[in-house]
């Protein structure tokens, strides 16, 4: 080509462990042991390519979940097992970006089992998000629109020509493709609802079944949407929304916000919009460009979504799920999978408050619960019999987590804490058990510190 339109900026600074960790946390669920080193050695370009398209088939590695009662996961049936099933994939996948994008789409097209009432339908929708994780957004929207969980959640199965229901017609524009504001009118909402009529379902022993399009329930008349008219149906709804001239702007800004907490600059926004349209409305190329962007590595830190923080703590040590407690702990942290708070998804600006912070402390503790040292156990005490310098204790705790990058300010507090434990151990009998407890506390402090809550 004679002239490429202004190329998107690419990060050219140092790409070391800190940058590789950020990439792994924001585009996935944090590094597995040694993974940050490996990515840092690759350099930015290859590292991003590796995230986008990991070698080999996606699979799960590491220990499979072992629950307290030793029963296998039954994600369709048992309460909480839906959550554990997906959480396990986050912990063990070799394709973290695919899993992270599955989470992004779950948030984007936020559907809650609170309204669907079927783990089976929720997991079917989840498979759809995973399959189209970095693919065509139009295909994704088309599939989501007649996905059974969506139909139930946003009243699509109750939207008939005689009794139109505007629920999905509104949300598809406001939350999924265009954003609130002047991009559409109330008239468009009503006409979209008409176009979307026709989906229905039957009932069986298992509840909902046989979701299908019934032409008799569809309003076959002419509709006028975005100043165009025709005998539109649900496919047209999707097509009209994605082809709306304000859609790329909404899409790029929303996608950007999942990876970078600062607003996208005007120049980058235009570049990304062009890239998106040129690719035929694919998310993959836009994601790749965002992951290469300077703002990804130069800007401020982001608060990790709680499920990312929790899954990452297990990934960092290459351990698996050892308790069903993750379901309620995640609930307390504010991110129970399959239960977003409403159709707008989770609020990424409001993850932390006094309630959810305590829950993250519980998560930090739970993530290594089976390995907590026992200060009453003789062999453990024997290992801590000799004096251990405070900074050595901190170093050991950092090594336990695979030496994540922790800022100086926090390290100082950890060192102060380690020193204070030494001075509190003012009797001989205290010395070894206090060293054991100090190590316990240090490990959880690292897992819950502000540096580890953010990336």
């Amino acid at each position: 080509m004679a002239r490429r339109s202004s190329p998107l900026p690419t990060y050219r600074g140092h790409f070391g462990n800190a940058q590789a960790e950020r990439l792994l946390w924001r585009a996935g669920f944090g590094p597995r042991p040694g993974e940050a080193d490996k990515l840092a050695r690759m350099g930015l370009k290859r590292a991003v390519r590796q995230m986008m398209k990991p070698r080999g088939k996606s699979r799960l590695v590491g220990p499979a979940p072992v629950l307290e009662d030793n029963t296998p996961l039954t994600p369709y049936d048992q309460w909480g097992h839906d959550h554990l099933w997906w959480f396990d994939r986050m912990v063990r996948t070799t394709n973290p970006l695919q899993e992270r994008m599955t989470l992004v789409w779950h948030d984007w097209f936020a559907t809650s089992n609170d309204g669907v009432g079927s783990q089976r339908l929720m997991l079917q929708q989840n498979a759809l998000f995973r399959r189209l994780a970095t693919g065509s957004f139009l295909s994704l929207l088309l599939e989501v629109t007649h996905n059974p969980a969506t139909l139930v959640w946003l009243s699509g199965n109750e939207n008939t020509k005689d009794a139109p229901n505007e629920n999905y017609g509104r949300e598809v524009m406001e939350l999924f493709t265009l954003g609130a504001g002047a991009h559409y009118t109330e008239h468009d909402v009503r006409e979209q609802a008409r176009a979307l009529t026709g989906w229905t379902n039957g009932w069986g022993d298992q509840g909902y079944e046989n979701f299908h399009f019934d032409p008799k329930l569809h309003d076959n008349g002419r509709k006028r949407i975005f100043k165009q008219s025709g005998r539109f149906d649900w496919r047209d709804t999707c097509r009209l929304c994605v082809h709306h001239r304000d859609h790329p702007n909404f899409f790029v800004k929303k996608l950007w916000s999942y990876f970078i907490p600062t607003p996208v600059s005007g120049r980058t926004l235009s570049g990304l919009k062009r890239l998106y349209v040129k690719s035929g409305f694919k998310s993959g190329p836009v994601i790749q460009a965002i992951l290469m962007h300077p703002a990804m590595y130069q800007g401020p830190r982001m608060v990790k979504p709680p499920i990312v923080h929790s899954a990452g703590l297990l990934r960092m040590r290459g351990v698996g799920i050892a308790t069903q407690s993750w379901t309620w702990i995640s609930e307390l942290t504010g991110q129970r999978l399959f239960f977003p708070p409403n159709v707008a998804g989770w609020d990424d600006d409001a993850w932390l408050d006094t309630g959810t912070f305590r829950a993250r402390w519980l998560a930090a503790r739970e993530s290594w619960e089976p390995d907590i040292l026992d200060p009453g156990d003789d062999p453990t005490l024997a290992r801590y019999e000799n004096a251990e310098a405070p900074d050595a204790a901190v170093a050991a705790a950092l090594a336990f987590w695979g030496n994540p990058t922790i800022g100086k300010t926090t390290l100082n507090v950890l060192n102060e804490f380690a020193q204070r434990c030494d001075s509190e151990a003012d009797r001989d009998w205290k010395k070894a058990p206090y060293r054991v407890m100090r190590q316990n506390a240090l490990r959880s402090l690292i897992a819950a510190c502000p540096d580890m809550q953010t990336c």
């Binding site: 401020p300 409403n342 006094t354």
Partner: protein, 467 residues
């Protein structure tokens, strides 16, 4: 968000709820300290003095709880040093409570016709002194007693026009104190923004797992807490002095990065420091029940096995030991979205709520706190006078609100508009706008210009609610 609304009733997940949620989260990450707030650097919490303070705190608090709550921390000391603030407890009947089944026009022929299965029998219940057309549902006996003692005023037909029949929209209006779907701060949140402290999360307390949108501020910190007893940060196999040092380290890790220029890091640091501060404020609750310090145990008996009663009891206890609460939000016992089989749940729920509220008033009286507390009881709307085909009632318009407390003036707030003349959707018409009652609470209870919180509040007739 109550389970009730999602499962038993309508799944009305509309954009209005999105806004409601947004309102709940206004203030950018509640209940964090707002960016730009100065570090507590000048507050003298260097490590050494902090430790001393920490130690002193434990000792004085447990030793002389009733006499000297001022040692809790500087912020609390400051808050407690002035005259005690008036406290509002907002009690929400979630789902749209059927006002016609609390105070029923039992003799009214229209009522009996509209409610063939749900009408209250004219043979039971006590007449309502303020309007003898109405009789108390016996399940509401706790409220009746308070009313007869002159400690409860009832607005029997309160709402707004045009009425919105969405749970979320209507609830949002009540919470933000206006019929504005875009408003993102709660009416109590805005009040706290004006009078609250920059470092006291307890001034606005949701006794719940998440923050009540009515409390959502834009500036000052507020807190959500389901159970003050469970707000602990212990760790298996970490105890004694190491445990104390670990707890301090969590707070120090937060404080150390609160001055960071990195917005993300600072957000996490704020949460860490703020949480540990709340933990200290709640320490008196963290002990086992037997050796709970004086002031925690209630002098009266609450209904058994009732979260709502336990939560009210916590509020009374927190006030008794001098914790600086100003606005408290709690959801009442029960779920009131009674689309079907109303009889089966409503009386039971109403009784639980009313009994707990009576116990709370008695508790406050026994502790000598009754003059400091006003309770505002409300629901997002009433229900349709005509029952539906499933022995329930659908969403209505005007409903009921009440104010309860020792200083409340006994009188009818507005009037009962009756079931003979309804609005165009066949729902009850309001005789008082909900903003008039909000405004009266701000003006008279808080002695604060309501117009600073509620737009156009002066266009309503504010009732005199206090003696």
């Amino acid at each position: 968000m109550s389970e009730q609304i999602h499962t038993r009733a309508c799944r009305e997940f509309t954009r209005a709820q999105v806004l409601r949620e947004a309102a709940a989260r206004a203030g950018n990450g509640l209940p964090l300290i707002e960016p730009g707030m100065p570090l507590p650097a000048g507050s003298g919490l260097s490590r050494r003095s902090f430790l001393l303070r920490g130690g002193a705190f434990m000792l004085t608090l447990y030793g002389a709880l009733n006499y000297n709550p001022l040692r809790l921390s500087d912020a609390i000391a400051q808050a407690a040093a002035g005259p005690p603030d008036p406290v509002l407890v907002s009690v929400f009947l979630d789902g749209g409570a059927d006002s016609l089944s609390v105070l029923a026009p039992v003799e009214d022929a229209t009522y009996r016709r509209l409610r063939p299965t749900l009408a209250l029998s004219p043979d039971i219940g006590t007449p309502f002194g303020d309007d003898t057309r109405l009789r108390w549902n016996p399940a509401a006996d706790g409220l009746r007693i308070l009313h007869e003692e002159g400690k409860l005023a009832v607005a029997p037909s309160i709402g707004y026009t045009p009425a919105d029949q969405s749970h979320f929209t209507s609830r949002h209006y009540w919470e933000v104190g206006d019929t504005d779907p875009r408003l993102q701060t709660g009416w109590l949140g805005r009040y706290l923004d004006a009078v609250g402290a920059p470092d006291n999360p307890l001034q606005g307390l949701s006794v719940d797992y998440s923050l009540s949108p009515a409390l959502a501020p834009s500036k000052v910190p507020v807190a959500a807490l389901a159970n003050p007893r469970s707000y602990r940060f212990g760790h298996r196999n970490v105890w004694g002095e190491v445990d104390e040092a670990m707890i301090d380290a969590i707070e120090r890790m937060g404080q150390a990065s609160q001055g960071s220029r990195d917005n993300g890091l600072r957000t996490a640091a704020d949460a860490s420091a703020q949480s540990m501060k709340l933990r200290r404020q709640l320490l008196p609750f963290a002990t086992e029940e037997d050796n709970a310090p004086p002031g925690i145990a209630s002098p009266v008996t609450y209904p058994k096995d009732e979260d709502f009663g336990e939560q009210l009891q916590f509020v009374a206890a927190m006030l008794a030991i001098g914790l600086p609460l100003r606005c408290v939000a709690i959801r009442a016992a029960g779920g009131y979205d009674t689309h079907d089989q109303q009889r089966e749940s409503f009386d039971k729920d109403l009784k639980s709520a009313a009994d707990c509220l009576l116990a709370f008033q008695r508790d406050l009286e026994a502790r000598g706190l009754a003059d400091r507390v006003l309770v505002h009881i409300w629901s997002e709307f009433g229900r349709r006078p005509e029952e539906n085909g499933s022995n329930g009632c659908d969403h209505g318009a005007a409903g009921m609100a009440m104010v309860m407390g020792s200083r409340v003036r006994r009188q009818l707030l507005g009037e009962f508009t009756g079931v003979d003349v309804l609005d165009e959707d066949d729902n009850m018409r309001p005789s008082m706008d909900f903003r008039a009652l909000h405004g009266a609470i701000l003006d008279q209870w808080f002695n604060f210009d309501a117009a600073r919180v509620i737009p156009k509040v002066r266009s309503y007739n504010l009732p005199a609610i206090l003696n």
